[in-house]
Each structure stands twice: as structure tokens, then as C-alpha cells.
Amino acid sequence: MAGPRPDERPQPTARRNAQGIKVDPDAGAEHRRRTAVISALVEHEPGVLSRVSGLFSRRQFNIESLTVGPTTVEGHARITLVVEETDPGIDQAKKQLLKLTPVIAVGELESDAVRAELVLLKVRGTEPDKVHAITEMYEGRTLDAGPRTITVQITGDERKIDDAVDAFRQFGIIEIARTGQTALERGDSPTTPGEEPGHSAGGSATDEPTDDETTTDESTPNYDD
């Protein structure tokens, strides 16, 4: 084989970046990680959660939190994922999610979407009055109070929960359980594309114990970033 050697051949001068994007010398911007809240409407069937979480772990996406619960539509569930990724990564995560057969629709929530999280905090019961005062301050509820421990529930957005946890530290936190964020689009906008809010909700569906999942009702007006 003849032909010029590699260093003697004409070579292109243009370049792409590591994401395969043509490098624009004027822009040259690097993709920064950002936090995205992704909502997936899925068939409520065994294995769907493991398919979703498996997809994320296989592709080394970092999940900040993942919540799941039924919707008003029989046989449907909503999975809310918070991921920290670059724009191309978030785009890829959404597309890969939509490829899963049990996934019905996928949407990324707007920054003004309603988000909430629930935390259970078990603290030392030596100063019940002060614990009560902090709980009130964060519009929480006392779920259990005994001579040695007090367990409270706080709901709200991530920042409120972080603040509350900090505030309770003074009493000595014994145990903590956080649910991770769940979220809905504000107003009339559907949370996932094509979703019809209220569709087949019926009269009784909202009375189901799903209230536990949708604690947003209590805390929506109060906290926004």
C-alpha cells in the first residue's frame, strides 16, 4: 500500500468537543451541570421502577432523588426524578426514558413548577417546647412524642427541608428519612406532554390515600426559590 503517511495527508482543522458537538470558536461554551426535575408517567406494573433506575445506573446518570406513586388514572404511576447533568445528558436521559416500553410520557418540569419533599425527623425529647416551636415555624406536624424522642414531619421544597433539618440539629437528630422531591407543573400545564390533568379522576379517586404522596397541597403557597 502506497499513499501518503498520516502526517503527510491533508487533515481537517475543525474539531468537535467530547459530546460530538462542533466546536464554535466564538462560543466555546462548556456544558455545565444543572439540576433537572423529570416527570415520567408510567404503566403501574411490577418491574417498572427497576427498569427506570437500572437505565439511570447503567448510563451513570446521577440521580439526586426518585419518587413514585399512583396517579388519578387507574394503572398509571408517576415517577419524579431529580438529576444533575449537562444539557445533552438531560436530553439523553429523557429520550432513553421514553424508549422504555412501560413509559407513557416524559416531561422536564419548568423552573417554577410546584415541588415538594417530605422529611421525618426524630429528635431527642428533652426540650419538647422548643421542638414544638421549630415544628410550628416550619409548618410541620408532630407525629409521635415520648419522654425520650419526638418525631416530626416537615413538607416543602428542598431548601425549606434543608433549613428545617439544620434548625432541628440543636436538639440532636437521632434518625432522619427524606422522600426526595416530587413535583407537578403549575396551573393548567400538563406535567408530562399529552397528559390530561383530571382525566378519569372520578369523584372518589382523590380521596384515596394518595394524599400521602401529594403533600404538595399543604405547602404549595409558602415556599418558592
Binding site: P6, P10, T13, S50, G54, Q92, T101
Partner: protein, 595 residues
């Protein structure tokens, strides 16, 4: 499926007793001619989907399905190992264009399928795997021969199903079959617990139909088509890149017409081999790590890459930083998740390959002015020809053997390969002109694919077509037991072992990147494959000299049955051109010292 002594006793029991947990039902099931049970529904669903051939291995938990196959029109081919069944089904699917079907029992049967399922998944091959499972009430108890098959195969299937109901199991199998070939193809799996197979049902399965959400729109959005067409029309150095999706989408006619109509040179990916005739003046053959120098030069310098049905695998792109860096990328794919996954698409066009190419053609008001570019491509073709040196006193060059078989066969002959140097020579030195004639393990790179692949291809193809398997000594040895199947079924396949007594591709890399330390790559303990073939009952040939090649090629092709040709090739021969891993396509090496 070797087991320790104690479970082996269980295994015997298992095979004698159809189901120790449901003896009553089992007795009834085996006594009746065609019992109306879940297993019969599974087989009815396969028949309704048009399945003619299935590949598998019997076993305890899949026995009810096999029993239902007893009176079926489906031709079941027992393979020597489940991996062989999966590869055979895969190749059968590639050649026929409809999903290949494979069956295995629970536990080790299912896990033995895994390599073949993963292989099909990486190559977007339509395939349906049916696995037996322990009875539902024992699932999760670590029962004998139990594996969490849906769990194990979730990442390597398009979708999988755990059948839970005898009345709907037929519908599920039909859906899995249809889903496998809908849109972007891929393997699907249905796990069949023994009680579901045995359970009574009197319902005929619904016609195979994929879930509604899984049926993508073949037509692309007209705006994206127009934008792509405008870019193509003003390109000066346009290049078509046809991937495996062109073949799987049955779009070769549209692809050929499009490139010829507009005078656009064509490169293919390795899975795209056969999408465009390699003897056409516009064709630059395939690009990538061991693709032609001219294809890689064209990729490096194009200003408009029309990529159809490719996922921009790293073996194609090298480092993405240097892949077609000056090109506007038009990316046509049926799977939106492939768009901008590895290489950013400037013009994404989501839809069926053939439909979209017709759409773009209709939207093009003029062909790009690419005369100079075509000349440039021809110059590159002359500068970097595919070549090797023949010296009659030296050992036979493997490339020579590939060319000899190509010359002795028709255009519609099918080539299957294992994985390694031989695979690259089979891809480089055979001139492919038709789709579905190069059947190989691309994405997963599974050594041992060649022989079971040839068995699947043979059963899929008309009798008058030749099926030639190029294998390496190391690759052949990995699934050599399937030769027993080829002999039993008297399959007319010719296995050409390009034997260099090395796991050659590894040796090549060790020479290039590990200072020649041949750790675990010397295979000088290889059996004499011609004699081994005779032991299996196949014809065996051996070639050591150039002057033996012509006769053996003719004899092995003429032999009506399986033959194995053990060609002792030049052990020092390496595969070139070569783009180093992560390197730039245009910086391919023509010799080791250029790496």
C-alpha cells in the same frame, strides 16, 4: 449446564416428572394431544406470527412449551448450546428480515442465551427469546434452575415480559414478537413460569400487535426534511453514510436511488455492508477502525454527512472530536434517542429510513454540485487501495482465501463470521453487493458467532444460495459444538477457518501497544480442525499452500453438507488500514510503524 452431583439428581427427576408441583394438571397436559393450556397458546401465537423455524434446547421448565411444539408446524432445531440457539435465531432474523425465535429453559438455559440476546441488542436485530421459569409460587425462592431472567435481561432487551396468566400468555408472546420488529428492531423476551404454561385456557391468542405507543411514525416532520434538503443541496462535499438501519428498515432501494440520483459518494458502516453495492463507482466501502482508507478520508473531509440508520459507534467514529469535524450532520433515524447521542445532529430527521430518503429526495430542488468531490474521492481510492502481497513461497495470506471464495460464489451468497482479524478480512476483501449477505457480530463483538450464525442463515436462505462462514481458530473453538447440529441437519455450510494459531486481533494489539508481549494470545495447541470436522461427521479440508486453494474452494463449496476448511494462513499477517482506538479517521495507519 454442568451441575454438582446432587442437583444433577434433581435434574433427572425434573426431566422425568413434568411438574412435581402440579402433577394432576401435568398428567392431563401430556396425555391430551394438544391440551388447551398456556404452552399451547404460546405456540399458537408463534404460528399466528408466521414463525416457521425456532432454535433451542430442551429443559425442565420449558418442557410444556416443547410438548406443545410436538404437533406444531414450526420446525424446531435443537442446538448444542443455548448461546448457539440465540446466535442462530439472530442470524435467521437478519437474513429473513423477521424476528428469529429461540427457546431455553430456566436458570442456566436462560443465562446461556444472554450473550446472544446482548449481541442482538447491540446490533438492533429482531429476535424473540422464550425462557422457561420455575412455577410462580417458587419464584424468588432460589428454586432449582431459577434465575431472575427478566432482571438479568432487562438491560439487553428492547422489552421483556414475565408471563403471569395462562389466558393472556399467548397475547403476550404475540406482542413481544411484534414489538421486536417494530420501529428500531431489537430482542424481546418472555419468561414463562411452568404453571402458566401448564395452566388451562380456552382462548386463542390475539393477532400479534405491538403496543400502540411503540409504533413510531415512519414519516419525518416536513420542516426537518426541508432543512436537511437545503443543506444537502448547497453542500460541496456531500457524503452518504449508510448504517445497519438502512438494511433493517428495508431501505436499500431508496438509499441506492438517492445516492445515484444526486451523485453523492457513499460509505457504509460495518453493519451497513450490503446496503450499497461495493462494486459501484460511488461506493467507498466501509469506514471505521479497519475500514478503507478512502472511506475514512471521505468521512474526515465531508462538509455534509447524510447519516442514515447509524448510531455512531466508536469503532466507526474513532474519537468524536475528529469525526467528520467540518460536516453538517444530517442524521436520519427511527429512534429519536440516537439523535445527538454520540455525534451532534445539526439536522435531525426522525423517521423510517426509506420513507425519509424519499421525503428528502422530493424536497431537494437540485442535486449538490459535487463533481470535484467525487474526483477527490476517486483519487483517494487510488492512493490508498486495499492491497496485500502474495508470495508463493510464503504461507497463504488470509485475504487471498476470502477473495477466492468471493470469486467462486454468486452475489447472493451469505457470509457469516466470528469476531477477530478474520472478520475484518471477510468484511474488507469480499465484495458485497446485496443487503443481508454479511451476517456478523458488530456491536458486541462476540467470538463464536460465526458457526451458529451460519446455521441460522442456512435455514433462512433458499437452498441455492451459498453460506460461507469465515472463522478464526480461536473464535471457531468457542462454539464448535454446533457442528454437531450442522451435521445432524445436513446443512450445506462451508466453514473456512483462517487459522493462524493466535487470537490474532489481540496479538496484533499486543504487537502495537504492549511491546509484543503475547500474553495468552498464542493458540499453538489448536486441534486439527479438518480431522475434528470428520469426527463430527462433516467434511474436512486442510490448506497449507497457495496451489491448494483453488481446488479446496471448489470442493468445499460443491460438497452438499457441512464442511470445514482449515486454512493455515500467514500467522504474522495483521489487519490494515487501522484507525487507532479513539484516533482520527483520516489518520489511519497502513502499517504498524504508522500507528
Amino acid at each position: 449446564m454442568s451441575e454438582s452431583a446432587e442437583p444433577a439428581v434433581d435434574a433427572t427427576d425434573e426431566e422425568v416428572d413434568p411438574d412435581p408441583d402440579a402433577t394432576g394438571e401435568a398428567g392431563a397436559a401430556t396425555a391430551a394431544a394438544i391440551p388447551e393450556n398456556g404452552a399451547a397458546a404460546v405456540v399458537a401465537a408463534l404460528e399466528s406470527a408466521g414463525v416457521e423455524t425456532a432454535f433451542g434446547v430442551q429443559g425442565g421448565a420449558i418442557m410444556p412449551v416443547y410438548d406443545a411444539l410436538y404437533g406444531s408446524s414450526i420446525d424446531h432445531v435443537t442446538m448444542a448450546h443455548e448461546q448457539g440457539a440465540a446466535h442462530a435465531a439472530d442470524a435467521y432474523g437478519v437474513v429473513t428480515g423477521t424476528p428469529g425465535v429461540c427457546l431455553a429453559t430456566s436458570g442456566p438455559g436462560a443465562t446461556n442465551l444472554v450473550t446472544g440476546i446482548a449481541d442482538a441488542s447491540m446490533d438492533s436485530d429482531a429476535m424473540l427469546a422464550l425462557t422457561g421459569q420455575v412455577p410462580s409460587d417458587m419464584v424468588g425462592s432460589d428454586a432449582f434452575q431459577e434465575t431472575d431472567t427478566t432482571g438479568v435481561t432487562a438491560p439487553i432487551t428492547k422489552h421483556n415480559y414475565f408471563a403471569s396468566d395462562s389466558t393472556t400468555v399467548g397475547d403476550v408472546v404475540g406482542e413481544a414478537f411484534a414489538l421486536s420488529e417494530t420501529g428500531r428492531p431489537g430482542p424481546t423476551l418472555v419468561d414463562l413460569p411452568k404453571d402458566v404454561s401448564f395452566g388451562e385456557t380456552d382462548r386463542a391468542p390475539k393477532p400479534p400487535e405491538p403496543p400502540a405507543r411503540s409504533k413510531p411514525d415512519p414519516e419525518a416532520d416536513p420542516e426537518s426534511v426541508d432543512a436537511a434538503a437545503r443543506t444537502i443541496a448547497r453542500a460541496e462535499k456531500p457524503l452518504c453514510l449508510f448504517g445497519g438501519g438502512v438494511i433493517k428498515g428495508n431501505a436499500t432501494d431508496e438509499a441506492r436511488a438517492f445516492a445515484r440520483e444526486h451523485g453523492i459518494p457513499v460509505v457504509t458502516t460495518m453493519p451497513g455492508i450490503g446496503s450499497f453495492p461495493e462494486d459501484d463507482d460511488l461506493c467507498l466501502s466501509w469506514a471505521g477502525m479497519h475500514g478503507t482508507g478512502y472511506a475514512n478520508m471521505a468521512i474526515s473531509h465531508t462538509d455534509c454527512l447524510i447519516a442514515v440508520g447509524t448510531r455512531f459507534d466508536d469503532r466507526l467514529t474513532g474519537g468524536v472530536e475528529t469525526f467528520a469535524p467540518g460536516a453538517d450532520v444530517v442524521h436520519v433515524d427511527i429512534d429519536p434517542a440516537e439523535i445527538s447521542k454520540n455525534v451532534q445532529a445539526d439536522y435531525p430527521v426522525v423517521g423510517d429510513a426509506g420513507t425519509v430518503l424519499d421525503q428528502i429526495d422530493a424536497a431537494l430542488d437540485r442535486s449538490p454540485d459535487a463533481g470535484e468531490w467525487r474526483e477527490q474521492c476517486t483519487t483517494w481510492r487510488d492512493q490508498y487501495p486495499m492491497d496485500y502481497a502474495v508470495d508463493p513461497d510464503e504461507p497463504v495470506k488470509p485475504q487471498f482465501v476470502v477473495e477466492a471464495y468471493d470469486a467462486a460464489t454468486d452475489d447472493d451468497a451469505i457470509v457469516t463470521t466470528g469476531v477477530g482479524q478474520h472478520q475484518m478480512w471477510a468484511a474488507q476483501y469480499w465484495t458485497y453487493t446485496e443487503p443481508r449477505t454479511f451476517v456478523s457480530s458488530h456491536g458486541l463483538g462476540t467470538m463464536g458467532y460465526g458457526l451458529p450464525g451460519a446455521i441460522g442463515a442456512r435455514l433462512a436462505a433458499d437452498d441455492d444460495r451459498d453460506v460461507v462462514c469465515f472463522d478464526g481458530d480461536g473464535s471457531f473453538l468457542m462454539t464448535i459444538q454446533e457442528l454437531s447440529v450442522a451435521v445432524r441437519e445436513n446443512l450445506d455450510v462451508t466453514v473456512v477457518v483462517l487459522n493462524n494459531e493466535y487470537i490474532g486481533m489481540v496479538r496484533q494489539w499486543q504487537d502495537a501497544f504492549f511491546e509484543g508481549r503475547h500474553m495468552a494470545s498464542e493458540y499453538d495447541w489448536m486441534p486439527e480442525f479438518d480431522k475434528l470436522a470428520e469426527a463430527f461427521g462433516a467434511r474436512g479440508f486442510r490448506v497449507d499452500e497457495y496451489d491448494e486453494v483453488a481446488d479446496v474452494v471448489a470442493e468445499s463449496l460443491a460438497y452438499d453438507g457441512p464442511s470445514v476448511v482449515d486454512v493455515h494462513v500467514d500467522p504474522r499477517e495483521n489487519v490494515y488500514p487501522m484507525v487507532s482506538s479513539g484516533g482520527a479517521n483520516g489518520e489511519f495507519a497502513l502499517t504498524e510503524d504508522q500507528l
